[in-house]
């Protein structure tokens, strides 16, 4: 499960206090949820709090049965490893590792044996159509391919929640759609996808869209179609 209650984040900047997020409450249902809003509206800030990268100034975050706002740095990392996957806009991959090793990395952290890691990572690369690129380094892959490797990695431990921050931001529309398809494909059953974007067309493919403005949740839009 993924739930936020009265979530706020304020940054101190010199003497001024910048409010990046204010009183955000939402219980994310299963399926895909898009978060949209103009630049600076607090989308990334929200994602950072939901994923436990950062602690809120106020409020509660619950992910995978754990209260992230009450946990320490390493405990939050543990929760992330077991319950969450991430795809960022760019620079997702570890540059010195091959595609296969990148996908296998979370499995390594989880203590999976080497043979099983390899087999599972290969399977995941196959799912995103990149089995042939298993031994390529990130700099030998196109932007779209890199994002697909990142998705394969995010899915490695079958997380309950997939977080994506502008995953298609750097891609042309064809590879963007391919990446989006892969992400949405996994937002089924009890699984959740939180998709941050400023592209309304992409957001429209989610089951619901949260609109942020100036750090506040101003509208929740349920999509009718799909």
């Amino acid at each position: 499960m993924l739930r936020a209650a009265n979530l706020s984040k304020r940054y101190r900047q010199g003497t001024a206090l910048v409010t990046a997020l204010e009183g955000f409450s939402y219980d994310f249902p299963p399926g895909a949820t898009a978060v949209v809003g103009p630049s600076g509206s607090g989308k990334t800030t929200l994602l950072n709090l939901l994923a436990g990268f950062d602690l809120p100034s106020e409020g509660e975050v619950e992910l995978g049965g754990a209260r992230l706002d009450r946990l320490g740095e390493d405990e939050r990392a543990g929760v992330r490893l077991n319950h969450a996957g991430f795809v960022f806009q760019s620079w997702n991959l570890l540059p010195t590792l091959t595609a296969l090793e990148n996908v296998a990395f979370p499995l390594l952290l989880a203590g999976v044996s080497p043979q099983e890691r390899r087999a599972r990572a290969l399977g995941l690369l196959e799912q995103v159509g990149l089995a042939a690129r298993a031994d390529h380094r990130p700099n030998q892959l196109s932007g779209g391919e890199q994002q697909r490797v990142a998705i394969a990695r995010a899915l490695a431990l079958e997380p309950a929640v997939l977080f994506a921050d502008e995953p298609t931001g750097n891609l042309d529309s064809a590879s963007g759609h391919r990446v989006l398809d892969l992400l949405l494909e996994h937002a089924v059953g009890e699984r959740r996808l939180v998709l941050v974007t400023h592209d309304l067309e992409i957001a429209a493919r989610a089951e619901r869209v949260l609109h942020l403005r100036d750090g506040r949740l101003i509208k929740v839009e349920e999509a009718a179609a799909v």
Binding site: D54, A77, F88, L94, T96, A110
Partner: protein, 379 residues
């Protein structure tokens, strides 16, 4: 295990830089190994020497230091005094001798003369001594030359050897090589050397003891009975030499420490730079779920890997360098003066390890403490 792969990948991704750092540590370690190998070599040579040294006690005038040739300061009365005490103390033989050193640092032009009394020959000094040519006994007016000395100064049997303006002896014997100090000695009759030095005194009394006698006790009793002497047992001399060697070791280690610290700073710099460049990577790892300890271990392993690989190369280079040095000292004085003993190799590796640890701790700490959001934000 996989940590090692990550470490390896990162170090090879910045190959030139890693190689230079590795080389820096290798050079620092090699210089330390070489410096300290002299102490070890001397220690080994000395132990071997003492083991082959015939007389168990060496009596010199009080205040004579252990490494320079003793001056002729022991008067003839003292010889009588000690000879009188000999039967009670279990002293089988008292050999009065005189030592004279001529020349400089170059082994080819420096000469160490040992004046032995009549009835005594180099075997009293070095029991396994054997002649390669001529005879063993320098009396009445000859010289018996050690193998190395004979080779370096071309002293074959029959050659004249001038000791002073009006004293010249003839080489009557050349010893077999013994890989010992004896190789560099020239044995001459005691009377001849006393004449050259213009003295009736002796420089040293060499005492051969009954095998059942307690060497240290005899030495103690002698010193008590005869004022003004220093009775050094072989074991005591070894202990003394060991102390002097240890001081030398400390000084040499101090000098090589400078190189080591520079090497350590090199590693710290390399690792710190690579930490800074990889902030985003660490952010991604942490985002995926790596704990801080994992990042810490990763960075520390890099420093350790660099240091140990450099240390290993340094020890190997030190072994090679030591062999080259020995090639020279073997030729010059017939002794291997440098030795890379297992304990020196282990010590050097331990130093490299400490170096890696101390160079890696700070970068590892800072890498593991960057906030995730900040690390992810930096590209």
């Amino acid at each position: 295990m996989e940590l090692l792969l990550l470490v390896w990948r990162n170090l090879t991704a910045r190959l030139t830089r890693s190689l230079f750092t590795w080389l820096g540590i290798a050079v620092a370690t090699a210089s330390m190994v070489l410096f300290l190998s002299f102490g070890e070599g001397l220690r080994q040579a000395l132990t071997a020497e003492m083991g082959n040294f015939g007389p168990q006690i060496r009596v010199v005038a009080e205040g004579t230091d252990a490494f320079s040739p003793p001056l002729p300061e022991l008067p003839p009365e003292m010889l009588d005094q000690i000879k009188a005490l000999a039967p009670d103390l279990g002293i089988l033989k008292v050999i009065p001798a005189v030592v004279m050193f001529r020349g400089g640092f170059d082994p080819a032009t420096s000469f160490l003369f040992y004046g032995l009394p009549e009835g005594s020959d180099p075997r009293d000094f070095y029991p396994p001594a054997q002649v390669a040519a001529g005879r063993l006994d320098p009396w009445p007016d000859g010289a018996v030359v050690g193998a190395k000395k004979a080779e370096l100064s071309r002293l074959d049997v029959g050659r004249p050897l001038r000791l002073s303006r009006d004293v010249t002896v003839k080489v009557v014997g050349v010893l077999e090589p013994a890989s010992s100090m004896v190789d560099n000695f020239i044995f001459v009759p005691l009377k001849t050397l006393q004449r050259v030095l213009g003295t009736e005194n002796y420089g040293v009394f060499l005492l051969l003891l009954d095998p059942n006698a307690d060497v240290d006790e005899v030495a103690r009793k002698l010193e008590a009975a005869v004022p003004g002497i220093d009775a050094q047992s072989t074991t005591e001399a070894l202990k003394f030499a060991e102390r002097a060697l240890r001081i030398g070791d400390l000084i040499r280690f101090g000098i090589s420490l400078v190189a080591l610290i520079v090497g350590g700073l090199l590693v710290a710099n390399t690792v710190m730079m690579s930490v800074f460049e990889r902030t985003r990577e660490f952010g991604v790892m942490r985002a995926i779920g790596a704990r801080r300890r994992f990042i810490f271990g990763l960075v520390l392993s890099e420093a350790l890997f660099l240091s140990l690989a450099g240390g290993l190369a340094g020890v190997l280079a030190g072994v090679a360098g030591s062999a080259v040095i020995n090639l020279y000292t073997q030729q010059a004085v017939g002794l291997a003066l440098s030795a890379v003993t297992p304990r020196l190799a282990l010590f050097s590796m331990a130093i490299a390890l400490v170096l890696g640890l101390s160079a890696g701790l700070l970068p590892a700490r800072s890498a593991s403490r960057i906030p995730v959001t900040e690390a992810l934000g930096r590209i």
